[in-house]
Symmetry: D2
Subunit: 421 residues, 4 copies
Amino acid sequence: MDFQVRQLGLAEIPSPLGLSTALGDGIADYTPADAGVTVTLPAGAGEARFELAGPRERLYFDGPRVSAGIVTCGGLCPGMNDVIRGVVRSLWRMYGVRRVVGFRFGYAGMVPDTLHPPIFLDPDRVDAIHHRGGSVLGSSRGAQDARQMMDLLERMDLDIVFAVGGDGTMRGAHLLAEEAARRGRRLSVIGLPKTIDNDLPYVERSFGFQTAVGVATQALRAAHVEAEGAYRGVGIVKLMGRHAGFVAATAALASGEVDLVLVPERSFGVRRVAQVLGEILDRRGHALVVVAEGAGQDLVHAAGKDASGNARLADIGIFLRDTLHERLPGASIKYIDPSYMIRAAPADSADAVYCGQLAEHAVHAAMSGRTDMVVGLSGGRFTHVPLQALTATTKQLDLDGDLWRSVVDLTRQPYVLDDPT
Amino acid sequence: MDFQVRQLGLAEIPSPLGLSTALGDGIADYTPADAGVTVTLPAGAGEARFELAGPRERLYFDGPRVSAGIVTCGGLCPGMNDVIRGVVRSLWRMYGVRRVVGFRFGYAGMVPDTLHPPIFLDPDRVDAIHHRGGSVLGSSRGAQDARQMMDLLERMDLDIVFAVGGDGTMRGAHLLAEEAARRGRRLSVIGLPKTIDNDLPYVERSFGFQTAVGVATQALRAAHVEAEGAYRGVGIVKLMGRHAGFVAATAALASGEVDLVLVPERSFGVRRVAQVLGEILDRRGHALVVVAEGAGQDLVHAAGKDASGNARLADIGIFLRDTLHERLPGASIKYIDPSYMIRAAPADSADAVYCGQLAEHAVHAAMSGRTDMVVGLSGGRFTHVPLQALTATTKQLDLDGDLWRSVVDLTRQPYVLDDPT
Amino acid sequence: MDFQVRQLGLAEIPSPLGLSTALGDGIADYTPADAGVTVTLPAGAGEARFELAGPRERLYFDGPRVSAGIVTCGGLCPGMNDVIRGVVRSLWRMYGVRRVVGFRFGYAGMVPDTLHPPIFLDPDRVDAIHHRGGSVLGSSRGAQDARQMMDLLERMDLDIVFAVGGDGTMRGAHLLAEEAARRGRRLSVIGLPKTIDNDLPYVERSFGFQTAVGVATQALRAAHVEAEGAYRGVGIVKLMGRHAGFVAATAALASGEVDLVLVPERSFGVRRVAQVLGEILDRRGHALVVVAEGAGQDLVHAAGKDASGNARLADIGIFLRDTLHERLPGASIKYIDPSYMIRAAPADSADAVYCGQLAEHAVHAAMSGRTDMVVGLSGGRFTHVPLQALTATTKQLDLDGDLWRSVVDLTRQPYVLDDPT
Amino acid sequence: MDFQVRQLGLAEIPSPLGLSTALGDGIADYTPADAGVTVTLPAGAGEARFELAGPRERLYFDGPRVSAGIVTCGGLCPGMNDVIRGVVRSLWRMYGVRRVVGFRFGYAGMVPDTLHPPIFLDPDRVDAIHHRGGSVLGSSRGAQDARQMMDLLERMDLDIVFAVGGDGTMRGAHLLAEEAARRGRRLSVIGLPKTIDNDLPYVERSFGFQTAVGVATQALRAAHVEAEGAYRGVGIVKLMGRHAGFVAATAALASGEVDLVLVPERSFGVRRVAQVLGEILDRRGHALVVVAEGAGQDLVHAAGKDASGNARLADIGIFLRDTLHERLPGASIKYIDPSYMIRAAPADSADAVYCGQLAEHAVHAAMSGRTDMVVGLSGGRFTHVPLQALTATTKQLDLDGDLWRSVVDLTRQPYVLDDPT
């Protein structure tokens, strides 16, 4: 598969970056126009070739004449402020862009009648925001009409929009890029993929994921302490993961003290889980369970949709706590839901590095005239991925793969957890 | 009031500590037999005189011949392992005691037919436990029959018992001391007061409280980030405090970002609270509420008693979250309950110092032959307090006092929050 | 001793705070005009009575007409930004003061020809500064001519100056108050005592001290890990403490793993120290030493004075490292100097509470018309202390007292460490 | 290039792991005997094919009959305890190995006349060691005679040795494997590469590196606070990196506040550096410099070799501090060397995951009969790399590559920093 990214027009303006085109001169190089990376897709899906991200020798936009905006959407995720800071600084310091605005509270702030008008951003204003969690722009879930958003962008005379968000946000960004094309408006729409669950395709590690695992590991440690400190103590920790168990599986490996990991990719029955835990209690005296929020959804009842149209998950954590309370008499059950403490954490150093580079590459892409795309990551290299490709599929744990094998090896939990019928 | 502490018998054995009795020689001194401290009790309750804690020149017990045990009871609290470590090291290194046992899982491990027999403790075994949260001995709530406990202690030939716990634990310790006296058994029972709520009288600061405030402040920060990051965002954090709002009030001051503090000492109505928050949302755009678990109990229904006989608190946090969800349409409400993460934290440096000194003074008291007492803290000095005095009353926030005034000054919340009738 | 604080003139303006004067009505109270606290001074120095800090019913200044300034001096200390934030917010929100300036880089920014003019401060500007270490105003050491400073204040028409700093700063503040009096200018000069060493009299705990101990404890833990990880490993950590060993002693207690504490109050010889450490290495295999920067100054050569006129301390840490390297052949010595990492830390939750209350009381004092004073702390109560009293003496570890006894009990180090002659 | 790993003999024992050989059955799979990964080597060095690490269906060793040992060498590095714990648990729980020993203090503990004999390790003993920094086994630098080491191993009847260390350690491990072969002894020698500098080839990320960057970033933040807080403040932080600037470059990206990064790969002159910093001070008022320990070695004098035969680096940090003190009059220079605090940190969650998997793959390799190899990492997959290949070359920053380009983009520092001649 060869993922072609849309280009607004000819790139004829020389870059002001002053990089080299020669290898080995000790000066960093422009990324050649035709540079790409070929990766093997998981699950036998063949190979894909992506355009390599990076600074181009010829640009489409002239920095000092450009206006750019940035919007953050969806639930909070560690690193959002790092991304905002990185985009503003890269625009300003590398390309001399002087007009940068931030939309408030997600797409809700990108329509003409918003209660919260956009604010101006410059390096001073964003200088220290990376030490804080959350998004200084605010965020919200839910879509807006692409025509209304385009109306505001035209009125503001914006050339570039950076949209930070998940698959819903990227669908909105794609509609916006199409609306711009329909109107013949030269607008670059660049997505920066945000998913604390790490479940987007062509993004081998999403920003905030590492930090989320780190804070989740602290919650696991607290639950382990509570479990050890009580007679037949059971700690249950619910972690993020609507459709994919990456946070739960990785945090379990990091903790090194988990006995049972329940993820959306693997069904389970409550009788079997209670039985397994009962055996662990008999053997070790205490047990630690981590459950992804999207696990066991067949066991609980779904409850409508939220403003972004995502199925609202019935609470598997509460369900497990109450069910195990009944099925494990004498056990002392402690339940921790650290989700908001995880989402609100500032980025750790690994995510800080990643967010800075993600922002840098988003800015390079926009200045070169790319649009309707998102910055991906494959084989350790940043890539250009069409927005439609990103939203066409999702990523899940490979139950035959190395990560899940390590989890099962570490926990010694059975591969199959279904109730006997 | 003069609080007299019971003494097992004549203290005639010279202390092995080699301290001085002369001031100004640069060598630390024994605490004189008659040393005391007079403190003004809060709320106009007059003055009280306590015996000063400290090493005595003459001891009742001979270290190398002594057997001692330690038990930890009730909910987890930062510093329990520091206290265990401190007691073991002080016994061993200062007084040459070589037989120290730890009872498992609270008073449940102090009866003859316990499933979890006591374990031996020495400095090696406890060397690194202070870096971990919880209690390496385990803990449990609930009382045991004093006669059964005394049966086990006699069988084990123990001379000293250190009981770490709250008011229920101290009532049990007092009954144990009385049972020992009834049998003519020379048993020293020394309490080390544990209350993460900081609500025990004659203990001006309880161990773990400072750490609890620190971790609570992190939860408040996360809730603030969530509130700021959403349109009309409201963060609600429930903190410890069954009968006293010390954790909630102090964490609010530490955070510096709280708008409303709800404590057990001050009643409130939901209409009034919703109105106050609505005004804050109109003015600031977001709001941060901290609520002690024992606040507003008239508003929710009590639900029986737990194993320690404490009234089980109906969940004011969940109640507030759901009520405000109804009464503040358009608000985005995020609720955090960090209780287990707070209880499971290792002690911070201030609590580590305090726990070490508390343990040291408990050991000095036991070796001198004191019994039926607890180590208190008044005016910055460690004291000896009879067990019965400690359990006769409780400590609450003084709504006319400095701490609460600072809270109201900082938050600008109204003094009165009752619903208009 | 009765410490009288100077009052600028009659306080006749009713306070806007709306507090109560009746106990027991659940509304916090104004501090009565004659409220005081009597404390027993250490080292047999008798008793002292201080005026109690707190909000007064009658004020000297009218908030909306007042101009105030704040300056931070000396080395960095955790909590400086909390103090700045607290002063600005208390002035603004409690008393309606709307003109507040911050001087840049200490007294160097308080003279007419400064390169860095003062900046305006309001609650928005200081809203998030308490999450950062350091001082957003900047700081510097060294004095300025009181007449020049007064010239600038007159030109700016300031009524109140808050000076945050140590004893040198307080001497400068006193000269400024005297210069104002000489000119008949109604200027309130209020000191907020800053000393990371905790060595100021009448201030039983200085802000930043607790945080410093916390960060120092982490450094001790690292040094312990290094010592344990090497054959005959010796970790040496140098901590703050020019004239007093409070940080070193308290961090040693918090760490629980220190073998030897060297402080300015207690002389020592290198032969004796090497001998003691050699014995520890033989017994335990590794050793951990903490040394206050002002310890053993007779052993190293003093090297002039710094800009504040303090004797520049020759480096006892380097000296010890090199000396022990020679005297303990075969030992693996690791030396850590965490000073700047300690000084630059943001305030922990205990210091955050303290800084907020300190600022609040400084503002109350200024508004009531007090001047030439500093806010002290005795017996857990904030007090008013004349500037001259504060700078007349210093505070040191009491080698006969409880804290040092705990250190010696914990480490088992000898009381006397002098070289045999 | 095709890297062939030595195999002790036929692997004929069925694995006890019970994994699958079928894709898509939801059960993790054995790694096929011929599985490999082909990677493009950096700097145009062509491609290399490595054998893929993972559990084999047929083993050479029979777990319950096997004896294994583990040794940790060189300077401390975050994650050493995680690796020890992982090896012990993987041997014990996956393969039923019951005889595992740990050698004390590096190769010095692997000779017959060692003062510190090996200790037995089991899952209980290592259960909580991953929360601590350092190595519970202790470590040391320097080689031992392979024949002596082999003598001890024969006497102990060991089948497998896991050696954790850097290139010197791996050279020693290779000599040991050769000595075993010479004696016809069936010994599996498996290396686990440790380099906090991240400078080993065929190991795209070494354990502890991520944690080191995290702690280094905190030191940079402190230095930034110190620089901002002083008039013309300059913060200098020295970080690890003898031959490669990965820690310095990555921490600079994570910090987002660094002005100048000095690495071994890029020469510089002090006049030029002082000039660049002077301009930054004029523009921003303060500056932050990070320097790798191996940078600028031509500027300082080398001073012999240490016990491992590494060139002892003259201290570029001290040199820079003193030089800039002279060349930047009026600047306030603060120097931080956080090296030991970095080395002694416990592993962060990312390194904890990595160390666990590294240990797991080392155990799989040993049980399958591989020897004279090290576990590498290429393209996100664990590999088998011959010991000789690992020590034949080193890894450095590619000055033409993406990472260094991001550093220069972020800092805006000149590519060339040599003094004009």
